[in-house]
Amino acid sequence: MSRVLVGVKRVIDYAVKIRVKPDHSGVVTDGVKHSMNPFCEIAVEEAVKLKEKKFIKEVVAVSCGPTQVTETIRTALAMGCDRGIHVEVSGKDYEAMGPLQISKIFAALAKKEEASLVILGKQAIDDDCNQTGQMTAALLDWPQGTFASEVTIDGEKVKVVREIDGGLETIKISMPAVLTADLRLNTPRYATLPNIMKAKKKKIANMKPADLGVDEPPTRLAGVKVETVDDLVAKLKANGTI
């Protein structure tokens, strides 16, 4: 039982008003206040708690994106992670990145680092996809405990209380596993200044997706609008989807 991988995403701060770029190619991000995705903060807190309870030895914080994400990794280090990994993706590639590519990166890293757990936030507040955790588990063929509001390690298994539409569901899954954090899992600690100063000395490894055997994301094709449901069915049949 050694290592936990935690994914952190740098997103536009939730209190900032989003502005669409004049050319409609995306939203304005230059100079805009960013912070760690709130669900990722909860994920980091859970990982650090597990380390403090001595269930695991090392917590590795991972983030994918341009140079600025190292600030987010530093915050995770200040909260108690031991080291960081910065998977560098910038510019147009970063804008095109989606959950599938991120999951491939996490899956590759989980294998490389021999992680027993991958803990992620349930979703990012900018795209609200809620897919990365699930896809990572599928790619690794690992069990998943998503929307976790309570996590208990029980020997080689993890008991996860999940928040689902009907209420709460308790499952027991074996490790290695992927967990995604929901709001009520914990209250994240603050990254205090002495810890930020100490975090400057912790290592952040730098790598590219290609180093992990992950390809460029495919260029996203434009969508097609159809008028009726019948049209939709016909189109899906035509391109072999159904």
Binding site: D30, K33, R189, Y190, T192
Partner: protein, 627 residues
Amino acid sequence: TVCTVPSALTGSALFFAAQRCIRALKTVQAEHAPSQHYTWGRNCSSAVMPRITSHYTIFPRDKDPRWEGVEMERFADEADVVIVGGGPAGLSAAIRLKQLAKEQEKELRVCLVEKASQIGAHTLSGACLEPSALNELFPDWKERGAPLNTPVTEDLFSILTEKYRIPVPMLPGLPMNNHGNYIVRLGHFVHWLGEQAEELGVEIYPGYAAAEVLFHEDGSVKGIATNDVGIAKDGSPKDVFERGMELHAKVTLFGEGCHGHLAKQLYRQFNLRENCEPQTYAIGLKELWVIDEKKWRPGRVEHSVGWPLNRNTYGGSFLYHLNEGEPLVALGFVVGLDYTNPYLSPFREFQRWKHHPFVAKTLEGGDRIAYGARALNEGGYQCLPKVTFPGGMLIGCSPGFMNVPKIKGTHTAMKSGMLAAEAIFPKVTAEDPASETAGLHIPEYEDNLKKSWIWKELYAVRNIRPSFHNYFGLYGGMIYTGVFYWILRGKEPWTLKHAGLDSAQLKPAKECTPIEYPKPDGKLSFDLLSSVALSGTNHEGDQPPHLTLKDDSIPVANNLAIYDGPEQRFCPAGVYEYVPLETGEGMRLQINAQNCVHCKTCDIKDPSQNINWVVPEGSGGPAYNGL
């Protein structure tokens, strides 16, 4: 029975002679902790006022039973110089220190703390930058990519009436002539300064506010402590409570900007204001608009005075056309905080000014993308305090070097930071500092200031702002400026005085007429709350309100009763609201601390001087982007 009344209830005692509920008193006394409610006597039909203030600066934690046994030790670290505030002054001082260290091959640890989440996020200014100080700091600023992209090409000055505009010629030699200056987005400029500072090795810590000044045994300044985190709204410790950190330094520079909260303490502690007039201020509100390209004139600077303010209320507007790719204009309105009518709302004056035909024609068809507000200094030369004291010094807009008629303070703030650094450097790197006190006292900084162009500039324009205090108000001031400044350049032998404390200028509401403001139309003018949303301001909700009241009962008893609650009107973020009590009649003050944009106007203008702005948890506050 005579019972000792805790300070929270003393105000009520003066205004309400009713007998207090003895049980409530006994409960408060027994716990030594502030109760959640306090009850007024029979005359008020037991109206229960929820407590407003819970901050530990008003209710010390060493007497609070909820804090018993909580670990209050702080981690401490040493630096050579600690700078409070990552604005133009603080960053220029840090940069200059590191430049000197590099030149003379000496080691120097410089730490800078800034309450905003990133450098530039709390910066707000017009701004027309005079590059004099920048040229001295970085002669190669252009190659380094400083964001000075818009040289001023046109300079317009108008006196507005309700419908018309009287152009005033911008003669060379008038202080507000902008030839050679640049229109900048100061937030971006400050961000660039931050990058330069980091490259030079300055340790910059955004998101950490300096909450407390630390003192040596001999009374000199030892450094600062950053804010504690994890205190709940009622003042009790949360599970995630952690103490702030102490940063000790040989000398601490305070560059908190206009009306800094630590500077306020230092004025009292070291009696720095005994030989100067009390500072007088203005509030500046600003918006950024993307306008129709056809109306865009990059490099154009427009200023106006007159409508909608009357001739006895100091203030005016600015509108600058930026040249950074898209048709962006920075516009805003300044109102002197020595105004007398408690019904005046600077925010609403700003909103209605935009409807003037001359302004509306630029903005029509445009989109508002940002909003913010900040207080600024108007005192100039007469209000400069002593700026050095054992262990520290004041730089930038904190003591207040703004050249009021030029409406520029960035160049003087930067220069003051640089002069501070130059005075400090030899002392702080000396083998034996030969100082009387543990914290270094470096009066050479003040001497350097007096010999510099800052002093000459401020002296020359010292009489312009006070000249507005005459029967003709604005027009008297303009005539004075034209005659004495333009001709004599401030060489007249007299020095006019300001009117006194801004907070003492308000007339009681019954002596004044309410102002009829037009409703916002949602296209040119807007309501307060949607404006506040555009500032991106936010604070952790579960923390004690950082707008602390020395006495919770005074707002209703004094501010509302006599002045009709002027804080509802002068706060540009809707923090203060008088709402009806849930039970029975009467009003109570509601403080929406999360809306605060850290402008400091309330601390300045409160007629009861009951509001004490303290710093909230770091990284809270506005999220300005290039404002």
